[in-house]
Amino acid sequence: MQQLNTQHLRDYPKKPKQVYLFGTCIVDSFFPDTGMDAIELLEREGIEVIYPQGQSCCGQPAYNSGYKDEAKAVALSQVKQFPLDIPVVVVSGSCGGMMRHHYLDLLGDDPEINNFCQRVFELTEFLVHVLHLKPVDQGPKEKVALHTSCAARREMGVHLTGNKLISQLANVELVIHDYESECCGFGGTFAVKHADISAAMVADKSKHLVATDAVRYVSADHGCMMNINGALDYQKQSLRGEHIASYLLNRIKGNSSKGSL
């Protein structure tokens, strides 16, 4: 029985001329290469990418910690940064889920908010369903695994779109790790508040990924990757995760990828 999720099924627009990119705070401060790669990936498809300099964070950290008013203030300030009626492409499934689904709860179902939420797309979702991207693989033959963040899986269906993109790469063998759909144990402040439980979860996740013998694993969320890569580095494993934007771009350009940490 395949895991099905109806929440992410939606009407997709035609390929637009312009899109906004929402980079997320983690990418902004820790992994800017991912953001640049996502921009290049979109530009290669003939799309103009607008990156509003006033953007910061989707508000999820405060929202998940129970600080609703604080999350609301930040969420509202973000909506204002994306006024044009064009798609907002987000390089994280979990931030995408926050902006697409939780903003309605947080900010109320008003027309402006509703219009904004309707315009939010997670990157791989956008590449598959709006751009119908058919990546031409120029990279070497290799095995990779795919880790999908839980919010990305359950709120945005990234396990399907990420899988589709990787499966189209002619020289890449996608290997499935044990307990593939299980959480890596990040959960934002959970990893700090319940460090012991989080440690047990990431120990298992990294063990299952290493067991695949993949040269790297790919994910659409830097939150999970900060957690898993941090654990792999600590364990002195050679396996690393790479954001799917960078991975796809490198495959298309024939560059060998390095994994991000």
């Binding site: 029985m1 401060s29 640049m36 950290p61 990040f186």
Partner: protein, 492 residues
């Protein structure tokens, strides 16, 4: 009364107790492997019980709507249930607290001069700590569900709401039986173990004065108590002793008899992957004149214990849709790691995190709503579509609200609030809603990235610390645009 307070504090998941429990159980490899193995098995069983995703989805939607309809008219249905049960000769008792429930039951037993009770499986009786209460009053209680019997012998509490002894493997059970059952022939064969346990129980059924059971669905329109079970012990408890006392929470009432089949079908398939349980009992009266068996008296104790607090709030009300299948814990990556006892509450796992704060107050359960990555595995499998992660978020909000903020929705509002944390989030919001302040803070983070500590509390106990980039994405994009402008000008 004193005893009950102690009982509550024993269960309460105080922050300190929770951390200690988690550390203890994460370090127990046998326990970890027992849970992982059992949860893998249960997840597979559930998956194989549905022919297609579509069928499952249709059933879940149907059952959600049934429970929501019943909850929408809960006060009316409870009155209707009482009327119809009384008409059928089943006496109804209302208990607001666990103490009241225990007192009612003890009195019913005393009225009959009863001294021995045989119990079917009932989580609500665990909630009231009924066994301890009765034993202090010299009433012997014997658990007759095999799992409950095992935990009772081991002087433990259930670690799972459906499979109380799931934390023990067969070797541990064999040792327990060898230590406790006279004439036990040592074996680790599951069938042999169960057979020997059953022989002990069989004798007790015939001797007990009172049978106590739970209820899965109480049907308002017919005054029927439905009991789902696999071992036949539920039927024995509710038919052999002269006095049968059923105890359940007020949320178990359903409107129509026709509401039961879909709920039952989804309950057993979600819980154990069974199309239907081995036994399904429908109790609609005591023994009638001319009948040869059945109890002389049947009573139902309906317990509130915080449920009406959840009922009063539109969002938290959804907590009461729960039909206690346990699928949320079977699929929970946290439960799978720490097991059921670490929670320190009667109900463990995601469902426990949602109901315990209403029963015990947020002070005693501060750590429960936060002990989740909000991964959503629980909500995805919940047969009645309770949005579990959303409810956990709501409980987090209630927990960090200022204590004085009105209206007070929950007991212990603000129990998880720390002024330092509140201040941090306030500053965080100021920075992230102001592009200027955000740019400044990012400049600081990248400029002084060498100051980033190598040790970050619990994070770096198993991971290396992340390192801020030398330049932010904001800066990189700006630089790219400026470069493009420059080359355009040069060309122009």
């Amino acid at each position: 009364m004193k005893h009950i307070i102690e009982e509550e504090s024993k269960y309460a998941a105080s922050a300190k107790a929770f951390r200690a429990n988690v550390a203890r159980d994460l370090g127990n490899e046998e326990l970890r492997s027992n849970f992982r193995g059992a949860m893998d098995y249960l997840m597979d069983k559930r998956k194989s019980a549905f022919s297609s995703e579509d069928e499952l989805e249709v059933l879940r939607e149907q059952c959600k709507l049934i429970k929501q309809r019943c909850l929408a008219k809960l006060p009316h249905l409870l009155e209707q249930l009482e009327g119809n049960l009384e008409r059928n000769g089943i006496k109804v008792h209302w208990a607001e607290t666990i103490t009241e429930a225990n007192e009612i039951i003890a009195q019913l037993i005393a009225d009959k001069k009863g001294s021995s009770v045989v119990k079917g499986k009932s989580m609500v009786s665990e909630e009231t700590a009924l066994n301890d209460y009765l034993e202090e009053r010299n009433v012997e209680c014997l658990e007759s569900d095999m799992g409950e019997y095992i935990v009772q012998l081991a002087k433990e509490h259930p670690s799972h709401i459906i499979m109380p002894a799931i934390h023990q493997n067969k070797k541990q059970v064999a040792k327990l039986f060898a230590d406790n059952i006279e004439g036990f022939e040592y074996s680790t064969d599951v069938d042999t173990l169960i057979q020997q346990g059953r022989e002990v129980l069989r004798n007790k059924f015939c001797q007990a004065d009172v049978g106590i059971s739970g209820v899965n669905f109480a049907v308002a329109e017919t005054g029927t108590l439905c009991l789902v079970e696999n071992e036949g012990n539920g039927r024995m408890c509710t038919t052999i002793p002269d006095l049968h006392i059923a105890i359940t929470g007020i949320e178990k009432v359903v409107e129509h008899l026709s509401d039961v089949p879909p709920l039952l079908s989804l309950l057993t398939r979600s819980a154990t992957g069974q199309a239907i349980s081995t036994y399904f009992n429908m109790i609609s009266s005591a023994r009638k004149p001319g009948e040869k068996d059945g109890p002389q008296e049947v009573h139902l104790v309906l317990l509130d214990n915080g449920r009406s607090q959840a009922f009063a709030d539109e969002e938290l009300k959804q907590t009461l849709q729960c039909i206690r299948c346990g699928a949320c814990m079977n699929h929970c990556p946290v439960y799978t790691r720490i097991g059921g006892h670490a929670y320190g509450t009667v109900y463990p796992g995601p469902i426990g995190k949602m109901v315990s704060p209403h029963m015990l107050g947020l002070e005693a359960t501060t750590n429960l709503p936060t002990a989740s990555t909000l991964c959503g595995a629980c909500g995805e499998v919940c047969p009645v579509k309770i949005p579990i992660p959303k409810i956990l978020l709501r409980l987090r909000q209630e927990s960090v609200k200022p204590k004085s903020q009105q209206p007070e929705v929950m007991k212990g509002q603000g129990a998880g609030r720390s002024s330092v944390e509140a201040l941090i989030w306030k500053v965080w919001a100021q920075v992230h809603k102001s592009p200027t302040m955000y740019a400044l803070s990012m400049w600081g983070l990248t400029r002084f990235r060498f100051l980033m500590p190598k040790k970050l509390g619990g994070w770096t106990s198993v991971r290396t610390a992340p390192k801020p980039a030398a330049t932010t994405l904001h800066q990189r994009v700006k630089a790219k645009q400026e470069k493009a402008k420059q080359s355009q000008q040069e060309r122009g």
